[in-house]
């Protein structure tokens, strides 16, 4: 029932929240910390139910990892606003001043950026005595583990007449920065009165990170003869700031139907019996149920003995490794899967480190977490390294993982063994593929193959290729080459055109000129018959002179004379000298035109 009411309430809130404007902000729990301490970076997204945020923020000298998210709902003047708070642990790797860059947040299909934040990590010795209250009171390991065996009940026994109350239990009261511990919050409600839950558990404080609470478990419990409905919320808690931390009571807003005064006539005990003892004429009352405050002592992670491969893991872990494809084809990648199992801060842990992967090109691993409990406190996190052989290999690189064990307050470094893995670089595909052959080839490396092997990212390159700062269009050699091509094309065209002309006997004008000269010579020569000479003269006149009345008139007379000679008499004898001279004179008159 309570769950249904809560769902309806959340649905109502959600519809109002959908229309809200989205805003994003980032805050640091502390702008200045000592080395060895940790801070919390909170990215608050207001007006959106869900947002995409990066898993980590890259800052040289800091390790910033997403650890969880929580939701905050506020109602001011009946206006509901909701915020999702994404929490990151900020762990310094060295001292100095840093700028945490803008964090890009995607929400409702839009991208938002937070403002950059300044962050300073001080050397512990230079920070002054008062900066770390617990520095002098470093707890020996035995006392830390001993305290974890007791389940602390910080709430006193409930009074019989109490309608609702809360209890909080945390197995550890002293823990290290970054260490995770389960926390359980139980709310008791008198089973006789109906209750509505308004919102979620409000449990937060500066210096701690609380994971999202799981859905509460419902149960019943009798205390001092009173039957209570019990809601149990569970989550994980971790501290980011060393020192004494007082965490405010965990609150839960509720509405409870309280018994009221019965109107006259209804105060009969029999009537009350009929109602089952319920508050039929009760009044609704808003009630915030609280637990007792919680006090924690948070110890800093020791600086002494911190391994270089330590990347924030706190808990108890073991390591295992396997190669998923121990015989990849030449040039194909191999996959080294490193599994970290145990219990601890899986969300805040960094990846294991490959030690001296000489001859391998490696990439940042992908990770996957398989939880074995609903709190994600225990489980196995797998890191999948992609390895690309740059030279013949017969074994995988080893992998190191360091963590801090709060049980004995010591850093532990786990190392995997080198696993059998036969891999060849891509450019040696013609080489031997068997393990023995690979081993022999690796023992006598071919010098010529070394320069062609692609080095890892971050290694200086040996080969060298010269390239111009200018585009080809800006380089004279390209322009000269283009110009040459243009000239060559034009020359080719000219040659082809000339060849074509040659094949056709020249241009039309030259052909006409030649024809005119030939016709004129026929007229001039005395060997032609008179009719043939007139034929040549007529053709000459038609070619040489533009159509005009004068030409047509002369042409008509020439045709008449030719016809007379051809069909009359004298056509087969040569022209007389006088007539030829006259004919030539006529033709020259027109040719000069």
């Amino acid at each position: 029932m309570i769950r249904i009411l809560a769902v309806f309430l959340l649905l109502g809130l959600t519809t109002q929240l959908m229309a809200a404007d989205v805003s994003v902000s980032a805050t640091l729990s502390r702008p200045e910390i000592n080395s060895g301490d940790m801070a919390e970076l909170q990215v608050k997204v207001t007006g959106a139910q869900q947002a995409d945020v990066p898993q980590q923020v890259v800052v040289d000298g800091l390790q910033i990892r997403l650890t969880g998210q929580s939701t905050q709902v506020q109602m001011v003047n009946f206006k509901v606003s909701s915020s999702v708070i994404y929490s990151y642990i900020v762990m310094p790797l060295r001292t100095g001043s840093f700028t945490i860059p803008s964090v890009t947040v995607s929400a409702d299909g839009q991208h938002f950026r937070t403002t950059p934040l300044s962050f300073t990590v001080l050397n512990e010795s230079s920070a002054g005595g008062g900066a770390t209250p617990t520095g002098a009171g470093f707890q020996p390991p035995a006392s830390v583990s001993g305290s974890s065996q007791q389940l602390g009940r910080s709430m006193p026994r409930p009074e019989p007449d109490r309608i609702a109350f809360g209890e909080i239990s945390c197995p550890k009261k002293t823990l290290y920065a970054g260490e995770m511990t389960p926390v359980e919050i139980r709310y008791y409600f008198d089973a006789r009165y109906p209750v509505q839950i308004r919102g979620g558990v409000n449990f937060e404080s500066e210096g701690i990170l609380v994971e999202r609470f799981l859905d509460p478990k419902e149960g019943r419990e009798e205390r001092d003869g009173v039957l209570y409905n019990v809601l149990t919320f569970r989550s994980l808690l971790s501290a980011v700031k060393p020192g004494s931390i007082d965490i405010a009571p965990a609150k839960l807003d509720t509405q409870i139907q309280m018994p009221g005064a019965l109107p006259p006539g209804f105060d009969d005990p029999v009537f009350q019996q009929l109602l089952g003892g319920r508050a039929a004429f009760g009044q609704t009352r808003d009630l915030t149920v609280k637990t007792a405050p919680l006090h924690l002592e948070v110890l800093p992670l020791p600086k002494e003995g911190r391994p270089s491969s330590f990347a924030g893991a706190v808990g108890q872990f073991d390591i295992d490794a396997m190669v998923s494809n121990p015989h990849p084809d030449p040039g194909d990648p191999a996959n080294l899967v490193v599994k970290i199992g145990g219990k601890g801060n899986f969300k805040g842990m960094g990846a294991p480190v490959l030690k001296d992967p000489v001859g391998w090109r490696t990439y940042p691993p992908t990770d996957k977490f398989d939880s074995s409990d609903d709190l994600s406190f225990t489980g196995v996190k797998s890191f999948d390294f992609t390895l690309l052989a740059q030279q013949p290999q017969h074994a995988s690189p080893i992998c190191q993982f360091s963590f801090f064990n709060p049980q004995n307050a010591k850093y532990v470094t786990l190392t995997t063994e080198s696993l059998p893995l036969v891999a060849l670089p891509g450019n040696e595909s013609s080489g031997p593929t068997s393990a023995n052959a690979t081993a022999s080839s690796s023992s006598t490396p071919n010098p010529s193959s070394t320069p062609s092997a692609t080095p890892r990212d971050g290694d200086p390159l040996q080969r060298l290729t010269l390239r111009s700062w200018k585009t080809p269009m800006q380089r004279p050699e390209f322009l000269i080459a283009s110009l040459s091509m243009f000239v060559a094309t034009v020359t080719l065209a000219a040659i082809l055109i000339l060849r074509d002309l040659q094949a056709r006997g020249g241009t039309a004008a030259s052909r006409r000129k030649r024809k005119l000269a030939e016709l004129l010579s026929r007229v001039q020569s005395g060997n032609e018959e008179a009719a043939a000479a007139y034929d040549a003269a007529i053709e000459y006149l038609e070619l040489a002179a533009h159509p005009s009345d004068a030409r047509n008139s002369v042409l008509g007379s020439l045709i008449s004379r030719r016809d007379l000679l051809k069909y009359g008499t004298g056509g087969s004898v040569p022209l007389s000298g006088t007539e030829r001279a006259k004919l030539l004179e006529t033709l020259q008159t027109f040719s000069s035109i």
């Binding site: 040289d60 290729t465 010269l466 390239r467 111009s468 700062w469 080809p472 080459a481 283009s482 055109i497």
Partner: protein, 266 residues
């Protein structure tokens, strides 16, 4: 040097051979010098390596052309020294020379992420990651000229078959189009007006070229900017996000190294 012992008959071809092999000889000489710097970098002496790389890259032989690998190695040395903005400039120069140079692209992304500057890949950069603009321009030009010549032959001297003519027209247009497109997207074409913010702090954008002028924002180190105008020691710049303003020229460095700029000018 007089090659007295070489007969004049062989002098011409030998000179031509020397001229043709000069890039190869230069490359070999540079590789020797680079090896020394690489050894210093690999053995954890980035200061020494950086000095060597700077000396090599400033040599006049590399005025007209340079090596993307050299700039990449210099960027690595600068990164190891903690000069992130300067290393981003070196990686950008490596990518200017060879846009498909994947290691430089990865290092640039890493450095910019570290600085907090976002540099999303444009479609031109994605395309140039697959085909070098030089290849696009040269292959396109060759194909285009083959198309033009084929067209001339078909139109003037050969059989005027429509299919072949259409093919020649297509080859000419596509080839020269590809060449022009390659030139358009070649980052070197506009590199003369680009610069990178290299100061350790973010320079403030001013409304006028004066320290006392109104601020209109700031540019994080490593930001790629376009220089729109120059006024003495001040540059009027525009960032990719649309911010414009004046910044002191000392806070940024041209994308083209000075040795290449002087070569362009000449």
């Amino acid at each position: 040097m007089k090659l007295a012992f070489i007969s004049p008959r062989w002098g011409g071809p030998l000179t031509a051979l020397v001229l043709l092999s000069s890039p190869v000889l230069l490359q070999a000489a540079l590789a020797d010098r680079m090896e020394t710097a690489n050894a210093a970098l690999a053995s954890g002496r980035p200061n020494e390596a950086l000095a060597d790389y700077k000396e090599i890259l400033a040599s006049p032989e590399l005025a007209k052309s340079s090596s993307a690998e050299l700039w990449y190695n210099r960027g690595l040395a600068e990164e190891k020294k903690g000069e992130s903005a300067a290393s981003s400039l070196s990686f950008r120069r490596a990518l200017l020379l060879d846009p498909g140079f994947t290691p430089a692209r990865r290092q640039l992304v890493t450095v910019l992420e570290k600085i907090g500057v976002s540099a999303p890949l444009s479609w031109q950069e994605q395309l140039l990651g697959l085909v070098h603009p030089e290849t696009m321009i040269l292959v396109g030009a060759v194909a285009g000229w083959i198309g033009v010549m084929a067209l001339v032959v078909l139109l003037v001297g050969g059989p005027r078959r429509k299919g072949l003519i259409a093919l020649a027209i297509f080859l000419a247009a596509a080839g020269h189009g590809c060449s022009a497109f390659g030139t358009m997207i070649d980052p070197r074409r506009t590199a003369g007006s680009k610069a990178v913010v290299i100061s350790r702090t973010s320079p403030v954008l001013r409304a006028t070229p004066a320290d006392s002028a109104t601020s209109s924002g700031s540019l994080p180190p490593g930001t790629l900017i376009t220089v729109l105008s120059r006024n003495g020691d001040w540059w009027y710049v525009a960032s990719g996000s649309g911010l414009t303003g004046w910044i002191p020229s000392a806070t940024a460095s041209s994308l083209l190294p000075s040795v290449a700029v002087s070569s362009r000018g000449s």
